[in-house]
Amino acid sequence: MSKQHINIDDIPIESLELVDVRADDAEKITRPSLSFWKDVWMRFRKNKLALSGVVLLILLLFMAIFGPMMTPYNYYENNLEAVNEAPSAEHWFGTDNLGRDLFTRVWEGARISLFIGFSAAVIDLFIGVIWGGIAGFRGGRLDEIMMRAADILWAVPYLLLVILLMVVLEPGLTTMIIAMTITGWINMARIVRGQVLQLKNQEFVLASQTLGAKTNRIMNKHLIPNTMGPILITMTLTIPNAIFTEAFLSYLGLGVPAPLASWGTMASEGLPAMRYFPWRLFFPATFISLTIFAFNVIGDGLRDALDPKLRK
């Protein structure tokens, strides 16, 4: 395209004058520099699977909020005249063995499952950032002790501990969230610590330290924004894990107590009825899977978008 040839002798003499272009034009040729998060978003947006995860998640959240209001039923009232009904205009997702409307219960369950997932992630984040941040930033002996303690706790098999706690403690939402976070934060703490250690010695932090910035300020201004990426990924992957664990516990009969309905309890109640009333399993199972799917692809998408190695 740029190859336009001209006979050397045809060149008009005035076009061979020096012109000064450098000062104003030299910078124009460089690609516009994007801010980090804008860049991440650009790359994330190109990942269609991850984007579909976001759309799916927004739909699920919307239905969790408004779904139960769309029907004249509530999640706990039995109706023995309409037991195990197939999906119809009256009951969109059918009814269960006590005649409760499954559409209402599924979205009520969405609230509980998502609440468990998000709470677990937020609590993990809270403890993990504090623990890992302090350990990494202070370093030395304190770091050694804190991380050893975490290692020992980490070695305790997660699900066994959760089961044990659920057996002993009073069943309920709070218990479940406590049980899940009791060792869940360790992963977050390790990641935060690793990031802090890596960043601590980088020039810009050393520079602000020599300039006399206070520890708090360094943490807030430099470390936390820079560790956001891996933290975000870990959180997105904690949520589906928690929802999974909830379903697992429900199946063992350690779920939230009736008449509360989580997707896990609904699915495990629906299992034995699978042969005759498949919709009782189908709806909760589908939505558990869709939710976990959405979070997983979002997490993958974030990881790819945040990985600077792929930056071209």
């Binding site: 740029s2 060149i11 003499i13 076009s15 020096l18 012109v19 000064d20 450098r22 040729i29 460089t30």
Partner: protein, 354 residues
């Protein structure tokens, strides 16, 4: 002298989301038997793409040969199949890479990594290949080669690893060796040792070398001829003496003035302002014009042809047009040219050509 390699009008592009990146835009050069050609340029100038194209190591897709030919001993490599290339790579053409840290397989013993290539190209037994590998390690200056052959790369230092890489590349006595910034990742003292080793081995094997670097300082010590690349094109080419004593292209001047560690005197280094152009939409005319202090109106209209300076010296700049204003290189470059001349006379030996 006969040509080992002749690259003609080579064009290589990468087809990405952002569009066609024209990484190599019509490159011509040749390598004669036993000589060293240095290709110099900033990162992103297309020098690595050019040389990896010769070995066909460019991932395709997204890479693609758009035009031109690569004649190795008269055969066009562009149209060779993967199968045919396998018998050329590592046998006829060897390659050394920039980072010896990552260029060796960390989970394979160093000896085995040499043996592997030998066994592929020569009909020799495992034990003979092993013997040859140990000899090679000895030849590239690795002490206790029989013990070292049984070690993993992480047990080697950076300089030793690069020596091992050279042993791998020269195992089958290739006719052409491509060294892609082989000393960039090494300490200065080790750099010198590696360069010396390459010079020695070149004399012994009669290998031709393409030496890629962004550092003109290294070029003076190894090369016979130099090609300066910018934005996917060769913009000046000549013998070492011509490039160092009589550079013609403003970009070459820029490279010369940004070269560190030449003298002990304190002097400022001048960086070339701006950055290389976007090769998705290469600028019209002279790609360097926007960064040049010697740009002319015509630079924004027409791409300059290769003007001949001498039999061996060519430069792609409108400044060489007979009607163009006569400009002198900037003072710092003149000073350096002066310095090279003095150094050459003082030492009584030519700086660079052996």
């Amino acid at each position: 002298m006969d040509k080992v390699l002749e690259v003609k009008d080579l064009e290589v592009s990468f087809f990405t989301h952002a569009g066609e990146v024209k990484a190599v835009r019509g490159v011509n050069f040749e390598v004669r038997k036993g000589e060293t050609l240095a290709i110099v340029g900033e990162s992103g100038s297309g020098k690595s793409v050019t040389t990896q194209s010769i070995m066909k190591l460019i991932p395709m897709p997204p890479g693609k040969f758009v035009g031109g030919s690569i004649l190795f001993e008269g055969q066009d490599l562009v149209h060779k199949s993967d199968r045919e290339m396998e018998s050329i790579r590592g046998k006829e053409i060897g390659m050394i890479f920039q980072d010896p840290m990552t260029s060796l397989n960390p989970t394979m013993k160093v000896g085995r990594q040499i043996v592997e290539g030998l066994m592929k190209h020569e009909k020799i037994s495992q034990s003979d290949a092993k013997k040859r590998a140990i000899e090679l390690l000895d030849k590239v200056g690795i002490p206790m080669p029989d013990k070292r052959a049984n070690q993993y790369p992480h047990e080697f230092s950076g300089g030793m690893r690069q020596r091992a890489m050279i042993a791998i590349a020269l195992a089958t006595k290739p006719k052409l060796l491509i060294a892609d910034e082989p000393t960039t990742a090494l300490d200065v003292t080790i750099q010198a040792q590696i360069l010396e080793l390459m010079n020695e081995l070149q004399e012994e094997f009669g290998t031709s070398i393409i030496f890629i670097t962004h550092d003109l300082g290294v070029v003076a010590n190894v090369a016979d001829r130099v090609a300066v690349m910018y934005a996917g094109q060769i913009i000046e080419t000549g013998t070492v003496d011509e490039i160092f004593y009589n550079p013609k292209h403003p970009y070459t001047w820029g490279l010369l003035s940004s070269m560190p560690d030449l003298t002990n005197e304190e002097e400022e280094l001048t960086a070339i302002p701006g950055s290389p152009p976007d090769l998705v939409n290469p600028p019209k005319g002279d790609a360097f014009a926007l960064r040049s202090a010697y740009a002319m109106k015509i630079d924004f209209e027409y791409e300059p042809p290769m003007f001949q300076v001498s039999d061996t010296h060519f430069a792609k700049t409108w400044l060489l047009h007979r009607d163009a204003p006569k400009v002198e290189p900037p003072p710092i470059v003149q000073k350096r040219i002066q310095y090279f001349r003095e150094k050459k006379q003082g030492k009584g030996e030519p700086n660079g050509s052996r």
